[in-house]
Amino acid sequence: MLISFHDNSNSLYCLGYSALMSSFLILITASPQSTQAHLTALKFAQQLVTDQIELKSVFFYQDAVSVALNSLLPPSDEPQITERWSIFAQKNQIELQTCVAASLRRGLMGAEEAKEHQIACANLAPAFSMAGLGQLAAGLNDPSVKLIHFK
């Protein structure tokens, strides 16, 4: 089932079915530094909110988890992606979930994981939470949920 969207008229059209009865789950797997995926996903997420279409959560997997680091310091004239996700999530009460296995593999951890593995510093940005892949799989149990993947 193909999903495509246009935002030139500030509204979302989904080919083949009505978006009105659906909700979305966003999956991102791409690095925030080397791809445009996060910026596009942010734009899409914001449009869902504007159009009052439910966004269940945003799930970060593989290289995308690094966006949840509290230590990313891009130059001030470049997009502040972590900050933008944080502001979006807090304003709209949307969960930002990073896969715990992918995170640990890449050196990202919350306070609990840091304590468990005796690592000096937790580095998970406050707006993000650690989650298992099971939460993504469970989110798909709802047949009205459409998964959209940015890579």
Binding site: L136, A137, L140, H149
Partner: protein
């Protein structure tokens, strides 16, 4: 309510943790009773080749991971026949039994799925 989830792997092996993480997602979805179709396409078919010698670069073998798929309820494993042919290997070169599909059969499989994720 379980859904039909097509997971397409189109990157070759040893590209970091990509393969392992893709399989992890398949395993977890199957554990949550979703019907998982695992599809190897383009460079992803290299993951299936039986002549891999990962110990040479200090990597764990992918054989066990692939052979364990059916044990974890992933029964439907497909490979794109065109991708294999353009890379010059046939079904006898594969580590596990897969169903070979051509482009239009794959297209149909994707049309029938509730979700399609390309990893």
């Amino acid at each position: 309510m379980p859904q039909i989830i097509n997971l397409i792997i189109n990157q070759s092996t040893f590209a970091g943790s990509h393969f392992k993480e893709s399989i992890d997602l398949a395993l977890v979805c199957a554990a949550f009773d979703h019907q998982v179709n695992l599809i190897f396409q383009h460079d992803g078919v290299y993951n299936l080749v039986n002549s891999q010698q990962s110990m040479i670069i200090g990597e764990k073998s992918q054989v066990d991971l692939l052979k364990g798929l059916s044990f974890y309820d992933i029964e439907n494993v497909y490979a794109d026949i065109d991708s294999m042919q353009t890379r010059s290997f046939g079904i006898e070169s594969l580590l596990i039994d897969v169903k070979l599909l051509n482009a239009s059969e794959l297209n149909r499989l994707n049309q029938q799925a509730d979700q399609v994720v390309v990893l």
